[in-house]
Amino acid sequence: MTERNEFFNTIRQALGPQTEAPNLTGTGSSALGDNSDAVSARSQAIQAYIDEQSGPLMDSLSESATGAGWKVARFDDLDKAGDHIVGIVRDVEANLVVRSRQDVLESGIVEAWLASLGVDVVPMALGEHSEHTVDELRSLAERADIGITGVDYAIAETGSCVLIPSAQVSRLVSLLPPIHIAIVQRGQVLPTLDELFTIRRRDFLDGNLGSYMNLISGPSRSADIEYTLVTGVHGPGEVHMILVG
């Protein structure tokens, strides 16, 4: 008998006689009993809700994100947000900035904003426009003073940004530099964690779950010594959430 089968035999013996496919109704689990149509319907309802309530959701995110330790600023449009970001970059005397290649940043606006400061901006993605290898990108991210990203979603309940790495989004932009700036646009804010995971389930059923997701809620922190809160352990110690719209 293989190790695997032995493992499962032990579990089956421990469980005693039972049916192989459990009855999923009435378990209290929101989950597997539903078919794909039900998940689609829920996702569509969520999309409609967050479009309709985008203003109040931004207000609520602003509050919860502040509570979670983000430095939150809100602007009507990207240009004004750009001025603010230039200010941050200038204040910390940054020399090197890395950014993701999400749509919101892809028009070259970060480069345009920072051109006047003479700061290098490196987009962290491979592809036809990148002149860097993977190893080079990684060492750039290690040296960078600031990482700038868009987000896939934000969550009002918890003050979180949700980043789903992909071809255009490196895992490291929001991780290695000591400062992370995240740009959240109107319409990206979900009310709670539950809506996020319903949408992600829809993505899974569509074959688009991807390999990775981060919910980022404030700075890297630890209270491992004497319960004393310290920020900036392994991840960024300073995090800015820029709300646009």
Partner: protein, 475 residues
């Protein structure tokens, strides 16, 4: 990990007589414990969440084989590898062999209690592979060559001064007198390790069956580093960590995090589904999930203990426990301390050797009250006490002293009737005669001397209530 559960009394004594440990433990009540109470009070319908979480856990464990096979299919579908380890040794062998095959010399580790069960660091070192703990608390504990003191705050028994001295000794750095500098030093020390390591090992707070996704909850960012920097990511976890759907995660993240630290959410929640995608910039090329039994199937098989597997490892019962807050984590002698540890450690090691753990509780119920999935820990402690005394399900672990049996027989006779109660009253009064002063007993011989060292004991009344009953109200 070598079990020292039979040395509970010595461990407890050592903690009680160490003023530094006592001072550090004192912070738990107003710290994590109060934070949990505040967080649950502020969460709408907290109790409904608890009930739902418990129902999902019960359902998943009742159908564990089904869900583990689902995990297996989906991990493989996402391009990952999965290994089911019967015990700690098999799990260690898998990881060590993988590391050797890939020529790994340096491994970075996120927090994983299961890897403590496996004594994985020790095994890796034996093979010449350097393991480095990256959670700040775990890093401190590793440098000190100790074991974690608390499930979520492994080094909470150490003051900043002790950590400073440790860093001076082990890292050859100057003495720091503030926590920010200590943390920065640890960050700097570990940064290069993250860059150089060929393998990242983490635990998993949840495994989603439907998608084959591993979920990590961290505050420091080391979990993200371990799953982003090295070429290989290995997640090791107990088989009870499965939840059916990714849609269940919102609920469980709330229950876990709010109960653990009182935060609304931790700084980072990371989900990992297989290795990095083809077009991704970074992330590991290989993903391995190691699912460990190591005695858990014993608890699964026992209907009286199955609910111990509902545990989310939030540590709330430790913080709530007045005994843990006195004896700390090391006294329990194995990986899992505190109330849930008093169930899990005996069952995963040796019940009769760990005999003190189920008995070293006042059954005050604070653990049950704190548990986010309402695990009835006192009920299970009572059950394990019964097993140790009467040996019904685990006769090989029956372990009861003659003295205790005799005492209980005596008690049983004395309460067998009203007449016997009166007789024992008389007998007791005769026995206590040499000790009574002014209706109180100041000092009793062993085994009661421990009691009277710190408290007076009341004398048996000359007329019990049953004798006085007829005359109440008559003067």
């Amino acid at each position: 990990m070598q079990s020292h559960t039979k040395d509970f009394r010595q461990g407890a004594g050592a903690a009680l007589s160490d003023p530094k440990i006592q001072a550090n433990l004192e912070g738990l009540y107003n710290g994590f414990h109060q934070a949990r109470i505040d967080a649950s009070d502020q969460t709408p319908d907290w109790e409904a969440l608890q009930d739902k979480g418990r129902a999902i856990k019960a359902h998943t464990l009742d159908n564990l084989a089904y869900y583990l096979e689902m995990v297996e299919r989906n991990v493989i579908a996402s391009g990952g590898h999965i290994y089911f380890a019967r015990d700690a040794e098999a799990a260690s062998n898998y990881v060590v062999n993988l590391a050797k095959e890939r020529g790994i010399e340096l491994v970075i580790k996120g927090k994983s209690m299961v890897s403590e069960e496996m004594a994985l660091n020790h095994r890796l070192e034996e093979e010449g592979i350097e393991p480095v703990e990256t959670d700040l608390g775990e890093y401190i504990v590793q440098l000190a060559e100790e074991t974690p003191f608390h499930i979520i705050a492994p080094a909470i028994h150490k003051s900043r001064g002790e950590v400073s001295e440790l860093f001076v000794e082990k890292l050859n750095v100057p003495m720091y007198d503030n926590i920010e500098d200590l943390t920065r030093e640890a960050r700097d020390q570990l940064r290069q390790k993250f860059v150089d390591a060929g393998m990242g090992i983490t635990g998993a707070n949840f495994i989603v069956a439907e998608t084959g996704t591993v979920t990590l909850v961290t505050n420091e960012g080391n979990g993200r580093m371990c799953t982003s920097m090295p070429k290989i990511h290995v997640a090791i976890t107990g088989m009870e960590k499965v939840v059916p759907s990714i849609e269940d995660l919102g609920l469980f993240l709330r229950l876990l995090i709010r109960s653990a630290t009182g935060q609304r959410i931790s700084s980072y929640v990371t989900t990992v589904t297989g290795p990095r995608g083809e077009d991704e910039v970074d992330g590991p090329e290989e993903f391995h999930l190691v699912i460990v039994d190591n005695g858990r199937s014993k608890m699964l098989a026992d209907p009286n203990l199955r609910e111990a597997l509902y545990c989310l490892r939030c540590g709330a019962c430790l913080n709530a426990c007045p005994v843990y807050r006195k004896v700390g984590g090391h006294a329990y002698g194995w990986v899992y301390p505190g109330p849930i540890g008093a169930i899990v450690s005996p069952m995963l090691t040796n019940l009769s050797e760990a005999k003190d753990l189920p008995f070293a509780s006042t059954l005050c119920g604070a653990c049950k009250e704190a548990c986010p999935v309402k695990i009835n820990i006192p009920r299970m402690l009572l059950y394990l006490r019964k097993e140790l005394t009467q040996g019904e399900t685990y006769p090989e672990h029956k372990s009861v002293s003659m003295a205790e049996s005799t005492a209980v027989k005596g008690w049983r006779a004395s309460v067998s009737s009203s007449f016997m109660m009166r007789l024992s009253n008389l007998g007791g009064r005769l026995l206590q005669l040499p000790f009574v002063r002014g209706g109180r007993i100041d000092r009793l011989p062993s085994p009661l001397s421990g009691w009277t060292k710190h408290r007076k004991f009341p004398a048996i009344a000359s007329k019990p209530f049953r004798t006085r009953w007829k005359n109440i109200g008559k003067k």
